[in-house]
């Protein structure tokens, strides 16, 4: 089972840690995160701002800021080690077989070059293609991501495009070389709500059509519910719960996940006029070490055992969570789940 999963895994992350040097001391942005993304599936990393989900994606792409250091027991793309790879080896993969879409389409494109230049260069670099061939591919993909009159768009500069169009361009750029894996870091957060839905549908559609593995980083459980196959919930730099999307929404186990879900209005369940849930308190400082459960200061079920090492519990073969409580006990405490 394990070996079969490993052979199908496009991305394997085992015990990944990212530490950032700060004047106040080392900040442990990512603390021992493990997961994999298999061919053709959509995996979501969910969590609130500062939980380390973006740092995880940057660590995978070797794009961490210089003040950050990455450690991992295993970090592999299609079986090839990324942790020990040279800059040239990484560059041969980036933009080619693994591509990334960023949160801010307004600033992620270079203002000094045309859309066409920026699309074409990545294909020419990795596929050693001619200008005409790369251009043809760019026109093709701009059409595919739903941009009208793609030939004219090629000659335009980023400032002439709206945010939604720019994000479509970013998606086309990620697709230029036919990647095995796309990492999308909050790809819809900076966009209008109506545009968000379009971009998300587009991304999910392309993922299914092209059989690409998609690692989607988001804080939005609504997005997760719509497109994820598997979900990893992150809190304070660590994964606190992992499950298939169906399992997670049917039976959220970790108190943090349940808190997140209670913040969402559910059609037919949440009555008009009632207050949505909130999670009291703030995320603990990640500077220095964290003993025991990082969520205990905000958890209504917290007790003495939470300060010690917390066990991993299994709700099913594919559903794990990190908590001192068994979920049955919590349910007995009268916690209503979403």
């Amino acid at each position: 089972m394990a070996s079969a999963a490993a052979s199908a895994a496009v991305l394997e992350v085992e015990d990944l840690s990212v530490t950032i040097r700060t004047p106040a001391g080392p900040l442990h942005a990512v603390r021992g995160v493990s997961f994999d993304v298999r061919r053709g599936e959509t995996v979501c990393l969910v969590g609130e701002s500062g939980c380390g989900k973006s740092m995880t994606s940057l660590a995978i792409m070797s794009l961490l800021p210089e003040t950050a250091t990455r450690r991992a027991r295993r970090l592999a793309f299609a079986g090839a080690d990324l942790a020990g790879a040279t800059g040239a080896e990484i560059n041969a993969l980036r933009g080619n077989r693994m591509a990334m879409i960023f949160q801010e389409p307004m600033t992620a494109l270079n203002p000094a070059w045309t859309i066409g230049d920026q699309l074409v260069e990545v294909h020419r670099r990795h596929k050693r293609s001619g200008r005409a061939e790369a251009r043809e591919r760019a026109v093709d993909l701009l059409g595919k991501v739903g941009i009208a009159s793609p030939v004219e768009r090629l000659g335009q500069y980023p400032h002439q495009l709206s945010g939604g169009l720019r994000q479509r361009v970013m998606i086309a750029m990620a697709l230029m070389c036919g990647p095995d894996l796309i990492i999308a870091d909050e790809p819809t957060t900076a966009l209008d709500v109506t545009i968000q839905a379009q971009i998300l549908r587009l991304l999910a559609g392309l993922q299914r059509e092209l059989g690409i593995a998609l690692l989607l980083i988001t804080h939005d459980l609504g997005i997760v519910a719509r497109i994820a196959d598997r979900v990893h919930v992150m809190y304070a730099g660590a994964i606190v719960e992992r499950a298939t999307a169906a399992e997670l929404f049917a039976r959220p186990c970790h108190p943090y996940t349940r808190g997140l879900l209670s913040c969402l209005p559910a059609p037919g369940v949440t009555e008009a006029g009632t207050r949505l849930g909130t999670i009291p308190g703030v995320v603990p400082s990640l500077i220095g070490g964290i003993e025991g459960c990082a969520f205990r200061s905000r958890c209504e079920h917290a007790r003495a055992g939470c300060a010690q090492a917390v066990p991993v519990r299994r709700a099913s073969a594919t559903h794990h969570y990190v908590c001192v409580e068994e979920v049955a006990e919590m349910a007995a405490l009268g916690e209503a789940t979403a």
């Binding site: 792409m61 794009l63 800059g87 990484i90 560059n91 041969a92 993969l93 980036r94 933009g95 080619n96 591509a99 990334m100 960023f102 801010e104 600033t107 992620a108 494109l109 270079n110 203002p111 000094a112 070059w113 045309t114 260069e121 990545v122 670099r125 990795h126 500069y157 400032h159 970013m170 750029m173």
Partner: protein, 305 residues
């Protein structure tokens, strides 16, 4: 782009017209020219005669119109001191000044762009600190002093270069360095600051995520965006270099425009002063126009006029 260029050109012409008024008025208001021409101890009748002969008794607006029309026709009048045609005088001196000005700018760019990029890419390293030290030393050193040091080293001790004159290319080496080193530090710091900012931007991260080579990331995606303020500064600096070469021209006995301006002012040779002033101002206007157009080429967002 064309519309933008036309608008910039129109603006430049307006500024040029304003500059011509200022150039004309400054000299009329800085003392009685007739008095200066007639010389000290001249009788009142002589001064009155001079005033009539040169048309200085007419209303200012008429004098200006007359002067402007003649200037546009290329007639800059006669030099009071050199007793020759002002246009010919300037045409004779301009090439020397223009040569050192351009060479100095090229020298400064050739030094400041690579150094600025290096110190930005390796920010905080010994290269960065060395470049900063050079910049501070460069700005602290007055150019007349540096010119003399160069002269002593290369002309007197090593005997590699001629001391002064403007006959061969070798004569231009030291003036170029002496004039150019002074504008290198601000340009280098600007390149560095621009590059540091640009290299931290999202689109550089995108370029890296695309697996582009480090050279392509730094030069294609980085430098072009960092150069916008440098181009603006370089144009202004060239104006400074042209106007500010008086000292260097004097030290190296280069018979250029700067030296001519100095002579004409000391001799109250107002047609020459006026012409040189106007020319330098117009060169400035022209350089600003060129820098605007270059910036529009580098940064497409500026093309919206």
């Amino acid at each position: 782009m064309l519309l933008y260029a036309l608008k910039r050109l129109g603006l430049a012409l307006l500024v040029a017209a304003f500059v011509s008024v200022v150039a004309f008025l400054l000299l009329r208001l800085s003392g009685d020219a007739a008095l200066a021409i007639a010389g000290e101890g001249a009788r009142d009748e002589d001064i009155a005669l001079v005033r009539r002969t040169y048309g200085l008794d007419r209303p200012l607006i008429v004098q200006y119109g007359d002067w402007l029309l003649r200037t546009l026709a290329g007639d800059l009048g006669q030099s009071l001191y050199f007793k020759t045609d002002v246009a010919a005088l300037i045409a004779d001196k301009l090439p020397v000044t223009f040569l050192i000005g351009s060479f100095s700018l090229l020298f400064a760019l050739a030094l400041s762009v690579p150094l600025g990029v290096l110190s930005a890419v390796y920010a905080g390293s010994w290269i960065d600190r060395l470049a900063l030290a050079l910049a501070v030393a460069g700005q602290a050193l007055p150019n007349f002093f540096f010119a003399l040091v160069l002269m002593m080293l290369f002309s007197i001790t090593l005997r590699w270069l001629p001391v002064s004159g403007s006959d061969t290319w070798a004569h231009f080496v030291m003036p170029t360095i002496a004039l150019g080193y002074y504008v290198t530090p601000p340009m280098m710091r600007l390149v560095r600051a621009g590059m540091v900012e640009v290299l931290g931007s999202d689109y550089i991260r995108t370029a890296r995520a695309k697996g582009l080579s480090p050279a392509s990331v730094v030069f294609k995606h980085g430098l072009r965006n960092a150069l916008v303020p440098v181009v603006a500064l370089a144009a202004v600096q060239l104006g400074y270099l042209l106007g500010g070469s008086i000292v260097i021209e004097t030290i190296f006995a280069l018979d250029g425009l700067g030296y001519l301006a100095y002579q004409s002012i000391t001799h109250k040779d107002f047609p020459v002063t006026q012409a040189v002033l106007l020319l330098l101002a117009l060169i400035y206007v022209l350089l600003t126009l060129v820098s605007d157009l270059l910036n529009a080429f580098l940064d497409p967002r500026m093309r919206v006029a």
